[in-house]
Symmetry: C2
Subunit: 156 residues, 2 copies
DNA sequence: TGCCGAAAGTTTACATATAAACTATTTGGC
DNA sequence: GCCAAATAGTTTATATGTAAACTTTCGGCA
C-alpha cells in the first residue's frame, strides 16, 4: 500500500522508533560523561585510555601481557601497542619480555604509577558521584540491569 | 539474570560505587552498539559520522551551515570540516558559499544521498530493533528517561 | 569611516579506534 | 625433527575527536 500524500508531507517525527531513541540517548549521554572524565584525567596528564590501562594493571596486581589488557579494555590490539608505548615514555609502566614465551611482553606498573593512581582515586570517585548525582541509586541499578540485558542480547 | 559487568570485566575487587558501575556499563554497552552500527554503515560505504551528518541534513530538509550541523552532532567544528570534505568527495553533499554572509557555507544533500539514505532506512531501523530486542519497550523507556535525567544533571 | 571584537570555518597537532597485513615465536601433527 | 597453523604483538592506513592558533568576514561603535 502506497503511503498517503498526507503522511508523506507530514513532518518527520523526532524518532522513528523507541529503539532508535534509546540508541541516541545512550550515545549522547555516554559521550557527555566520557568528556567529563577525560577532562579530569587531563589534569593529571593522562588520557582516558591511559588511565584505564593503569587501572586494569592495578586491579590485576601483577604483570600482564599486552593482549590480556586489550581484552579487558574491549579494544583491538593495535590500540594497546600505542598506549603501552606512551605509558613507557611516561615511566608509568615497565615492559619486559617473558622468558618462558618470548612472544609475550609483561607489562607492570611502576611505583610512580601506583602513587599517581592513589592520588587520583578520590577525585575520580567524587566525579563519578557528581556526574550521576541527579539519579537515585535505585534507578541507577535498574539502568545497570537493563544495560546488562542489552549486552547479553547483542552478544548472543 | 544478565551477567554482571563486574564478572565480564574479570575485575577482582567489587566496584567502588554504584555510580562507577553505571559509568562502566554505559561506556561498554554504547561502545558495543556503536560498533554494530558502524559495521552496517560500512556496508554502504559510510562511516557512522558521515551517516549522522546526512541524517541531520535530511531531517532539516534545507541547506545548513557547517557549524549548525556540528551543534547537532555535539561535536567540535574541525571534525565537521573533515567529514564535509569527505562527503563532498563522495558527491553526497554540495557546499556553496552564502551570498548574504560570505563566512557561511551552506551544505545540502545531493539526490544521490537522498536515494542512499532511503535505501538504508529499513536496514537501520531493523538493526536498531535487533540490537535492543532483548529489552522490552517499557524498560527502554525507563532507561531513556534515566539517561535524560543524567544529562540534565551533568549540564546543569 | 575606520577600528576592534565576534563569528564561521580551516588548519595543525595529538590521542584513539578499526581493519588488514606483517614479523616473530610457539606448538601440534605427522 | 620438520612444517603448518596458531598466537603475541607491531605496523600502516583511514576515520574520528579535542584543543589551539589562524583567516576571512561581519557588525557595532566611536
Amino acid at each position: 500500500m502506497p503511503p498517503s500524500l498526507q503522511k508523506e508531507l507530514k513532518k518527520r517525527g523526532p524518532f522513528d522508533s523507541v529503539e532508535q531513541e534509546a540508541m541516541l540517548a545512550l550515545m549522547r549521554t555516554t559521550d557527555l560523561l566520557e568528556n567529563r572524565l577525560a577532562r579530569l584525567f587531563r589534569d593529571y596528564g593522562l588520557t582516558l585510555t591511559q588511565y584505564n590501562v593503569l587501572r586494569i594493571l592495578r586491579g590485576e596486581g601483577k604483570p600482564m601481557p599486552c593482549l590480556e589488557i586489550a581484552e579487558r579494555m574491549i579494544q583491538v590490539a593495535p590500540a594497546i601497542t600505542r598506549v603501552v608505548d606512551q605509558l613507557l615514555k611516561l615511566e608509568l609502566i615497565t615492559k619486559t619480555q617473558s622468558s618462558s614465551d618470548r612472544r609475550v611482553f609483561e607489562i607492570e606498573l611502576t611505583p610512580a604509577a601506583a602513587k599517581l593512581l592513589k592520588r587520583m582515586d578520590q577525585p575520580v570517585l567524587d566525579l563519578h558521584a557528581s556526574l550521576l548525582k541527579s539519579v537515585n541509586k535505585s534507578d541507577l541499578r535498574t539502568m545497570i540491569r537493563t544495560l546488562g540485558v542489552v549486552r547479553s542480547g547483542v552478544q548472543g
